[in-house]
Symmetry: C2
Subunit: 325 residues, 2 copies
């Protein structure tokens, strides 16, 4: 029997890197991960990642044939195979990720923005099936976005479309510092990190008691704040409300650019459901121009949290293969 | 000899409506105009416009055959032939412009956003020839925008993409009222009207002498302020600087959405050249994420001020004709 063709889909996030072995139908045969932020040297990171992929592939019981590596990463550039000035990653400047990865293999390696990969995943396997115009917002350590227009992912002239995490929500010198070197970017408010920052600000301004006062900034994460909010913690609920409000406000701008049918929220923060969706929906509607009001759906991704990016990354290789044959 | 096929291209602006008779090569055989804001009744406006077009067509010496009417209007919707909630026009709510116009003729009538029409005009006849990804910003009484991605105009799911004039530059209840019913929209700062508003604010805050202090708000227009600035008037120069700064700040956001190769400025304010381009370029670059810095061209439209919209509007009919034959 012929070996089963498989793509390794790799999703590089600020905290974790997740990879999976994906077949043509979108089934993930196996998955593993490593900590992105444990590797300061990109060469060491890539060598470790490649090694882990090889080891994991040997554990799969089916007879498989890996045909390529699809990589989604913040600021990943499909034209050049680079990661450029990714604020949330340990490697600064322009990183030739594709080239370094290619030292380990002769198989095709394709790099793109992690949010673009998620958007393709949503279109092929998720809630955007059949939609021609939609946006995916990924809420992780940072905030990414992927725009689909007329059924095609928008790359833009230089391959960097959809970086709305770095549009200003509040311009001005007294604003939150962003890892990109500027101030007041959307992702300083709307992301797991942004949620933590808002919580600390609210904690500083308020005298409400909260179990979260016993956590350090480093210890806090979106899940801890989410769990506290579910138990009714006032500060946690206010932090989510603030985050959703900032998101909703910006989504009204996004709609005025490309007039999508739907906006999908994807990633850790989106799992907080109503805590984030309610204020986001409310403030989006409040800020929409009347021609758009009530027309744009705000939806949770229909893909499991991490899989969309892995699936999306893998789809790049299937697309490549099928365009050549 | 066969009659020459001609399209009537109509550009509806907040102040003036301009129409022209355009042949397939983009030559405008004749042009005329009427005052948009003199007509409170849409039916009277359309009847007068149609009458004027017929009269003007009879003055053309060539033997012509009008094959359709292409109309560009603020908030014009190509799917429904409507104008919807256009802040700068005298008619409120949803106006069935195409339907009313069609009462006068059996020829095809196509309605679209005036800025979308300008973008098509720029692509076919202007500085965007050969470009696949660009944005046109129209600076008139209000601010419009048209996005071209992968060589195609973006309409969006409901036909309303590209309304960045109504994205917030400064959110908040104490901000400038916009004709759309909200506050702090980009066009309350960046448009001929926005320039006047900024001038008045600066005039109120400053004690600098200025010839502009002798004009009422109603008397002022962009041309008067432009002429004063050219003569060195301090308040006029500051008003342009402020307008350009707000524009540049927002253009950095536009780039983060669709990563265009170029942004074209079109319309009355763009004629002020360096007065608007210098601050816009400076603040756009300052606010761009590093991956975009130095890569996006900010250019004046290569079409004469009003012609692009007329040409763009006319091109809708040529496209329609050629898709049918």
């Amino acid at each position: 029997m012929a070996k089963k063709e498989i793509v390794a889909g790799i999703d590089i996030g600020g905290t974790n890197t997740i990879f999976g072995f994906v077949d043509r139908s979108g089934t993930i045969l196996a998955e593993d991960r490593l900590r992105t932020n444990h590797y300061e040297e990109i060469e060491v990171y890539v060598a470790t990642l490649y090694e882990k992929i090889v080891v994991a592939s040997h554990k799969i019981r089916e007879d498989i044939n890996i045909i390529g590596f699809g990589i989604g990463a913040p600021m990943g550039n499909i034209n050049k195979g680079t990661i450029e000035h990714a604020a949330g990653l340990p490697w600064k400047g322009i990183v030739p990720l594709g080239e370094i990865f290619q030292r380990h293999t002769t198989l095709p390696v394709v790099v793109t923005n992690d949010a673009n990969a998620a958007a393709v995943g949503e279109m092929i396997y998720g809630g955007a099936r059949g939609m021609k115009n939609f946006v995916v917002i990924t809420l992780g350590t940072g905030l990414g976005s992927g725009f689909v227009i007329d059924g095609k992912l928008v790359y833009g002239h230089d391959g960097f479309a959809g970086e709305i995490g770095h549009t200003a929500i509040r311009p001005g010198p007294s604003n939150r510092d962003c890892g990109c070197g500027r101030k007041g970017c959307l992702e300083t408010y709307v992301s797991a990190t942004g949620l933590k920052r808002s919580l600390l600000k609210i904690m500083a301004d308020s005298i409400e008691p909260s179990e979260l006062r016993s956590y350090s900034f480093d210890e806090l994460d979106a899940e801890i704040i989410h769990n506290a909010a579910k138990k009714g913690d006032y500060l946690a609920k206010r932090a989510f409300e603030h985050t959703g409000r900032m998101l909703g406000f910006k989504l009204a701008d996004v709609v005025a650019h490309t007039n999508p049918e739907a906006i999908f929220l994807f990633g850790g923060l989106a799992l907080a459901k109503d805590l984030i969706f309610e204020p986001a929906q409310k403030y989006m509607e409040e800020n929409l121009l009347s021609i758009y009001k009530g027309k744009v759906k705000l939806l949770p991704s229909e893909l499991s949290t991490q899989n969309a990016a892995v699936l999306g990354a893998s789809s790049l290789i299937w697309t490549l293969k099928e365009s050549k044959s």
